[in-house]
């Protein structure tokens, strides 16, 4: 029986690694990316459970799960740090002022 590859492992790995790289924007993008990665891994785990012999990349799937979990944890940690720091400088309004200042400095590039 020819073994297939679990479909979502590659995307899950890419998303999980990307979630590490964008922690700093408050943890939220990281949380979303790692969350999607985790969800994809779960989907593939269900597929695998239905047919354990039919898939060849279970090893990377398990590793991807660990990557996604670490990504989730990191993102949550950064989110908490972000919220704490926003409170420290005086709440959301003060933070937003600073963001606006910076945006003006850079000429609102996006």
């Amino acid at each position: 029986m020819e073994q297939q590859k679990l479909p979502n492992v590659t995307i899950a790995i890419i998303l999980a690694i990307l979630s590490y790289l964008c922690c700093c924007i408050g943890g939220v993008p990281g949380l979303i990316l790692a969350g999607i990665a985790f969800f994809l891994v779960r989907k593939d785990e269900n597929l695998y459970r239905e047919n354990p012999e039919g898939y060849s990349n279970y090893g990377p799937l398990k590793t991807a799960k660990i990557l996604a979990i670490i990504g989730l944890v990191l993102s949550i940690i950064f989110l908490v740090i972000m919220i704490y720091n926003i409170q420290k400088i005086g709440g959301w309004d003060a933070y937003w002022e600073q963001v606006q200042e910076l945006k003006e400095q850079w000429g609102i590039e996006e």
């Binding site: 995307i11 790995i13 790289l21 964008c22 922690c23």
Partner: protein, 101 residues
């Protein structure tokens, strides 16, 4: 795939995202420096790219390998993938911890 394209677009368009957290709070994050590092890679400055963000090499190797593996069947791809994943994460995290200290 879409994420991959977005990343390419980011690099190709001189479209570097600034780091809000770093500017306002002075907090560095595990991904700090990767955009500059990739630009250096593209410009051929390999040593400088490594110094800027060491994990850029395992990460780009991993992504490149995943793409190739998606289209072609590579033997032992499981072990290679796992190895690259673990290397990438270890380098990302240790580099970050070193930066903090």
């Amino acid at each position: 795939m879409k994420t991959h394209l977005a990343l390419l677009f980011l690099v190709a368009g001189d479209f570097m995202l600034p780091c809000m957290s770093k500017q306002i709070f002075g907090i560095e994050c595990p991904g700090c420096g990767i955009q500059r590092s990739i630009m250096m890679l593209i410009q051929g400055e390999f040593a400088a790219a490594f110094k800027m963000y060491p994990a850029v090499y395992p990460i780009t190797t991993l992504f490149g390998f995943l793409v190739v593996d998606y289209f072609f069947r590579i033997r032992r791809s499981n072990i290679i993938s796992i190895f690259l994943m673990v290397t990438s994460v270890i380098m990302i995290l240790t580099n970050y911890i070193f930066k903090l200290l």
